[in-house]
């Protein structure tokens, strides 16, 4: 353990101090100025926005994760076919993985906003005008950006997990008489399930805590928790600091509530792929 200690200590001290301080701030124990005064005022004032923020965060994170998992699996399946196509797609996935989310959000804004490239392409068709995908009633652009970038991550994780022995498994299945669809549904899908599950969990937790994509592409009200927390944190009203901290604590709790049960379920998911009992 001693060799691992510096890294682990750094994580424990920084994350532990940060979370302890943000919890203390939310209950008035760490004011920016003045004496500490325990109070739940921050939580009370933010309560309505917190409830809406949880809903908005999940409204963004869940569809983005499902779409990223689906597209990521299909990209991985394409790469598993091998050949030059696989190399090209793999390189494109790596490039997308290196794109900062802020750049992705900027480009998606130029693509899907009112005067964006997609609206220009659709303009000759006429109709009722371009739908409000950026900043509209549904977080379409936010979900698409997160799904786009995270699908590359899911694809590379699934590829790394499934590729060893993939052709052999497929040949054995074919030798046993499995049709192409059966090989995909009964061999590839169960083999890839644990990797898809793990990558989806990382995506879901990331999407819950992501700020810049929803900030640039999302609607003004309701705000997802990170956007709400950041806005309150930057407020000139010092009394908004505990409310900002309450939103940050709620975002962390939401991420933990999603991650802990999912991590516990992952070994069961793995056992499914090996034919073991759940």
């Amino acid at each position: 353990m001693s060799g691992a200690a510096p890294g682990i200590v750094a994580i424990t001290v920084v994350a532990g101090t940060g979370m302890a301080a943000v919890v203390a701030t939310s209950v008035g124990l760490m004011p920016l100025y003045g004496k500490p005064a325990p109070s739940l005022d921050g939580w009370r004032s933010a309560a309505p926005d917190l409830v809406a923020g949880i809903g908005e965060s999940l409204l963004i994170a869940l569809p983005a994760t499902v779409l990223a998992a689906l597209v990521g699996f299909l990209l991985a399946a394409l790469m598993l076919g091998g050949g030059r196509a696989a190399s090209v797609v793999r390189l494109a996935c790596l490039a997308v993985l290196a794109v900062p989310h802020l750049v992705g959000a900027t480009s998606v804004s130029l693509l899907l906003s009112d005067g964006g490239v997609a609206a220009r392409l659709a303009a000759p068709a006429g109709g009722d005008g371009w739908p409000a995908l950026v900043g509209g009633p549904w977080p379409v652009a936010t979900v698409l950006e997160l799904a786009w970038k995270e699908s590359a991550f899911v694809a590379l994780v699934v590829l790394a997990a499934v590729a060893p022995g993939h052709r052999m498994r497929m040949q054995v299945a074919a030798g046993l008489g499995a049709r192409p669809v059966q090989r995909v549904l009964r061999v590839l899908v169960p083999t890839a399930a644990p990797a898809v599950g793990a990558a989806s969990l990382v995506t879901l937790v990331y999407a819950i805590g992501s700020y810049e994509v929803a900030w640039l592409l999302g609607r003004a009200v309701p705000e997802p928790l990170p956007v709400l927390a950041f806005r309150l944190f930057g407020s000139i009203e010092l009394t908004d600091r505990p409310a900002a901290a309450a939103a940050a604590v709620t975002g962390s709790a939401l991420a933990l509530c999603v991650a802990v049960p999912a991590l516990a379920a992952l070994p069961r998911l793995r056992s499914l792929s090996t034919g073991g009992a759940p």
Partner: protein, 275 residues
């Protein structure tokens, strides 16, 4: 999968992966692009000029420094942790893995928000604070990458070097590290990307004083910049990491050190196939 389906799949995959970035590429070279024109009427570099006058070169330099600093801190810490995990040198691997998951699970903005209050009281310089926090975010990536490399390398290597008279330090630096050099470079690249790409932690903990390329882009994209300027900033921000990752990927392929995932297993002889 038939050839037609594979070709259609390849086209759709590339459309999905490339199209979202296309507007930045086109806008970065646009001088005048009125709606509903499909392409710019005039091409030029006014967006780049405005981006430069807004401080893009210095912002890129700060991003470079931040990325290198995060890589310099997170890589050795991650390699030390990865060695312990990969060679199973700890009796509590689950605890190490669980603690490594903490920065991935907890939203960075929440930790940054709490630390900001503490760091203001401690009086730590903004750059040091941002590097510290982003290094913690990067450690899981560097540790897991290194752990995979150590798991593929026999611990006997270090023991043999010691048996031949090397000191513990010599054995690690001159025998073990060269054996896992490729993975350490990948780990450093990942840590660099964390530092280069970050927006929210730099803005929160840096207090707006540390204007990196993403911070400059965020300010322009949220309303103050025109589309050509924003696109120029975005392209300048995205190009270095994409080029780095692409070159690294091509070098790994070119050197023949492909992952086991890419190797084709031996075909199963007909007589060994299950019926």
């Amino acid at each position: 999968m038939t050839r037609v389906v594979r070709t259609a799949g390849l086209v759709l995959a590339l459309l999905w992966l490339v199209v979202p970035l296309a507007p930045v590429l086109v806008w970065a070279g646009a001088e005048r692009w009125s709606f509903p024109d499909l392409l710019p009427r005039d091409w030029g570099v006014s967006g780049w000029r405005e981006a430069a006058s807004a401080g893009l070169p210095l912002a890129l330099l700060r991003s470079l420094v931040l990325g290198l600093a995060v890589a310099a801190v997170a890589t050795p810490l991650g390699v030390m942790t990865g060695r312990v995990l990969g060679w199973r040198l700890t009796g509590r691997p689950r605890m190490v893995v669980a603690l490594l998951l903490v920065p991935l699970v907890l939203p960075p903005f929440a930790v940054a928000m709490g630390l900001d209050v503490v760091l203001i009281r401690v009086g730590l310089h903004e750059l040091v604070s941002v590097v510290l926090l982003l290094s913690v975010v990067a450690i899981p990536y560097t540790a897991y990458t290194s752990a995979t490399a150590f798991a593929r390398t026999s611990p006997e290597l270090e023991a043999q070097a010691r048996a031949l008279g090397a000191t513990p330090r010599q054995a690690r630096l001159r025998v073990v590290l060269p054996a896992v050099r490729g993975s350490i470079l990948v780990a450093a690249l990942l840590a660099f990307l964390v530092g280069w790409s970050d927006y929210v932690v730099t803005l929160l903990v840096g207090g707006g004083q540390l204007v990196t390329a993403p911070v400059l882009l965020g300010a322009a994209a949220s309303g103050s910049g025109n589309d050509a300027t924003v696109a120029a900033m975005a392209l300048a921000t995205v190009a270095p990491p994409v080029v780095l990752v692409t070159v690294a990927a091509l070098r790994v392929r070119g050197s023949g050190r492909t992952a086991p995932a890419d190797r084709l297993p031996e075909p199963v002889p007909d007589h060994e196939r299950m019926r």
